[in-house]
């Protein structure tokens, strides 16, 4: 049975639809330009959403000119490693800060948060030099090590676990469970929504990052898809081959879009399932 929709709700829906439309226009324009044969030499102006010379050529050429499939694979591999390491690290650190009582916990947590105030660009060259000194450039280590310090993730997990009842841990302790068992078998399964959020955020950061992979990778075989996209942007702006540039951008967006569609229901899940019957 449908509930009757009031005028107010209709107005809200109309406004939201208009907002959604406005948000979608740039994306649609990007897709349309990528399919427009005329956009091979310049961006059609005024902008149009219906291509005048529809063609798939822009999607075929990048694969012929650069090893795009390989770039995608590299991006996936790097994103997978970064997501795994940073989520695991954030879960463990967040659990520790939230539930374990140890000397200096508060200071350490504040210090970790304080590092967020240092712009990444400041630490980038020193980090590069350090990893280069250790022979870790052009390898997965360059992405795994920095992922261990997942401060934003740690903060999110801590805040989330603060909302879970501490009685769960107390009860498990009384039953003789070790800290490791409590963490893995009770708190991690209850952290589904925050894990999903972290996976999406970390994947987005990792997938869209250009500068760090660019600094750490000097072998074309290791390049990521974002470096591949950047290769299509010329010094003179995007006046040459805009269609191809847009096509590569559309392709690079697809994995993020798919991931978001798969995990969004977890992200919007706002009520933590506490595991205790009232």
């Amino acid at each position: 049975m449908f509930r009757q929709t009031t005028w107010g709700q209709w107005c809200v829906m109309v406004l939201l639809s208009i907002g959604a439309g406005i948000m979608l226009v740039p994306f649609l324009w990007m897709v349309s330009t990528s399919l427009d044969g005329q956009a091979m030499t310049q961006v059609p102006f005024p902008p149009r959403l219906i291509p005048e010379e529809p063609t798939w050529k822009s999607y075929v050429i990048p694969f012929a000119n650069v090893p795009l499939a390989r770039y995608f694979l590299n991006s996936f591999l790097i994103a997978l490693c970064e997501v795994s390491v940073s989520v695991l690290s954030a879960l463990m650190a967040g659990y520790a800060f939230s539930l374990l009582r140890f000397r200096g916990a508060r200071g350490l947590f504040l210090f970790a948060l304080g590092t967020l105030m240092i712009p990444p660009e400041v630490a980038m060259i020193p980090s590069f030099l350090l990893l280069n000194e250790w022979g870790m450039t052009n390898s997965l280590w360059a992405f795994l090590l920095p992922s261990l310090a997942a401060v934003v993730g740690t903060f999110l997990v801590k805040q989330y676990m603060d909302t879970l009842p501490a009685e769960l841990r107390d009860a498990a302790k009384m039953d003789g469970a070790s800290e490791w068992t409590i963490f893995w078998r009770i708190y991690v399964p209850l952290s589904g929504p925050v894990i999903a959020t972290l996976v999406i955020l970390q994947f987005l950061w990792s997938w869209n990052d250009v500068l760090w992979p660019l600094l750490m990778l000097s072998h074309p075989d290791w390049y990521t898809v974002q470096i591949g996209v950047a290769m299509f942007v010329h010094d003179s702006g995007q006046r040459i081959l805009p269609a191809i540039h847009m096509a590569v951008a559309v392709l690079s967006l697809l994995p993020v879009l798919v991931l978001y569609l798969l995990l969004q229901r977890y992200v919007v899940k706002s009520i933590a399932y506490s595991g205790i019957k009232q």
């Binding site: 091979m40 200071g107 590092t115 500068l211 950047a230 290769m231 006046r239």
Partner: protein
């Protein structure tokens, strides 16, 4: 609180140590016999086509740089050349890290002076002295030679790639529509202004709005100012002193050449697209829908050329033609730029790197870049031009009398003080406000003097 402070202090100390612990070696000595080169040379390029590729517009198979290098590698069978090609995005940071860590021997290096000042690239004067096969003055156009020197003009830092000068582009169709006689082959600013005035308004044939003039107010104001100052004879007088020691610079912004240049820009502003100060208005530049009759300081003609080569459509080629830029009373003027090929200070194979640099900046590669990407060459003679190419020969012709103005080229105040000042003045003109140019110049003079003083501290 105290403990946190200790933590933060320690953290910064670690960062500082890492940042300062890696200074490059300063050993400039060369050894090795170029006739028997061996080993590996790693070359860093920015947005080059390294492997053979399919041209997106024509669909033709095109050769990449590796193919162009084959004659060189045949000559040096024991030498390996490897390429690390990077995008333009964040190229400066990437090159900084590559130079610091010695990841490549040879660099295509836009910011070469800054890296030289950090001790990251080696000057090549000793190599030039030892090399009996190369004379700069006979191999390259005279106008590019100052561009490969350091700020003092004493040390040569690399060998040039293509020569990018700025020209005046004319839309012949709009001239015909308005019934305005064509722009002369060597136009003066006065002629440009007079004709631009007549072509601003509703096109009598199509009824569409057109503008007599265009220049990109963000990226081209500085070079336009340079061209105008040259034309009015103030290239060496508006600013005097040694650019390598900025605190010695003396500014004379009330010099007639500078005043006339700014006045010309102010007079031209009503005939330029209203969005020019923020780079707007060039969406249809050089297309069928172009609305600018004269485009100043134009660096390339890629769109008409791509249209011609890719779609065999020569309409745009006929519609747009080029004129040389403004020149001064001495026949010289308007800037030119090049990106040099430089050798890393950390190279372990300087003799081989030198041979690679010579080849990359030589006639064979410049011909290759011209034929495949329309890059105007800096080598002379230009005996490899296409018969159907109406553009690059004009760039080459123009480059013979190009010159650079050291106090404008590469100076930090160019983008931070001078261009914003010009934009402010022109913006006031756009808004119909009365501009007291004397007062504005006084303020500029004061700010620049203050800047120079700060450099001496």
């Amino acid at each position: 609180m105290r403990r946190q402070r200790w933590f933060l202090g320690g953290w910064f100390a670690v960062l500082l140590t890492v940042m300062t612990a890696c200074s490059g070696s300063q050993d400039w000595k060369v050894s090795g016999d170029p006739a028997r080169l061996e080993g590996k040379v790693v070359v860093n390029t920015i947005d080059f086509k390294i492997d053979d590729y399919t041209d997106p517009v024509t669909g033709a198979k095109m050769p990449g740089l590796k193919t162009a290098m084959k004659p060189f590698l045949k000559k040096h069978p024991n030498l390996q050349v490897e390429f690390i090609n990077i995008p333009w995005q964040d190229y400066n940071t990437k090159q900084q890290t590559m130079l610091m860590s010695g990841q490549a021997d040879v660099f295509y290096l836009p910011q070469f002076r800054a890296f030289y000042e950090q001790g990251l690239i080696r000057p090549i004067d000793d190599l030039l002295r030892q090399d009996t096969t190369l004379r700069l003055s006979s191999r390259y156009q005279r106008s590019v030679l100052p561009l490969i020197k350091d700020r003092t003009g004493k040390n040569t830092l690399g060998l040039p790639s293509g020569a990018f000068s700025r020209l005046i582009t004319v839309d012949n169709q709009l001239f015909r529509d308005w019934g305005v006689e064509p722009l002369s082959t060597r136009p003066t600013p006065e002629e440009v202004l007079a004709k631009a005035k007549r072509m601003t308004g509703k096109n009598p044939r199509t009824g569409e709005q057109t503008y007599g003039l265009y220049w990109d107010g963000v990226w081209r104001t500085s070079t336009l100012l340079e061209s105008l100052i040259s034309y009015y004879g103030g290239r060496n007088e508006v600013v005097t002193g040694d650019v390598s020691r900025p605190h010695t610079l003396n500014f004379h912004f009330h010099h007639p050449a500078f005043v006339k240049s700014v006045q010309w820009m102010m007079a031209a502003t009503p005939y330029v697209h209203p969005g020019f100060l923020v780079s707007q208005g060039q969406e249809n530049l050089f297309t069928d829908r172009n609305q600018h009759a004269i485009v100043l300081e134009n660096p390339n003609m890629e769109v008409p050329w791509k249209q011609y080569v890719g779609k065999k459509d020569s309409r745009l080629l006929q519609r747009f033609s080029l004129r040389v830029n403004f020149k001064g009373p001495d026949g010289l003027g308007s800037p030119i730029s090049t990106t040099p090929w430089c050798i890393s200070a950390k190279t372990r194979n300087p003799a081989a790197a030198w041979e690679v640099v010579k080849f990359l900046s030589g006639p064979q590669i410049q011909q290759f870049k011209y034929e495949n990407e329309m890059v105007p060459p800096s080598v002379q003679p230009f005996d490899f031009q296409r018969k159907d190419d109406p553009y690059v020969p004009v760039y080459v012709q123009n480059a013979k009398t190009n010159t650079t103005t050291p106090w404008l080229m590469d100076m930090p105040y160019q983008k931070t003080i001078l261009v914003p000042w010009v934009s402010k003045v022109l913006s006031q003109v756009q808004q119909g406000k009365r501009v007291d140019l004397n007062k504005e110049i006084d303020q500029l003079q004061q700010r620049m003097e203050q800047w120079a003083e700060e450099q001496g501290r």
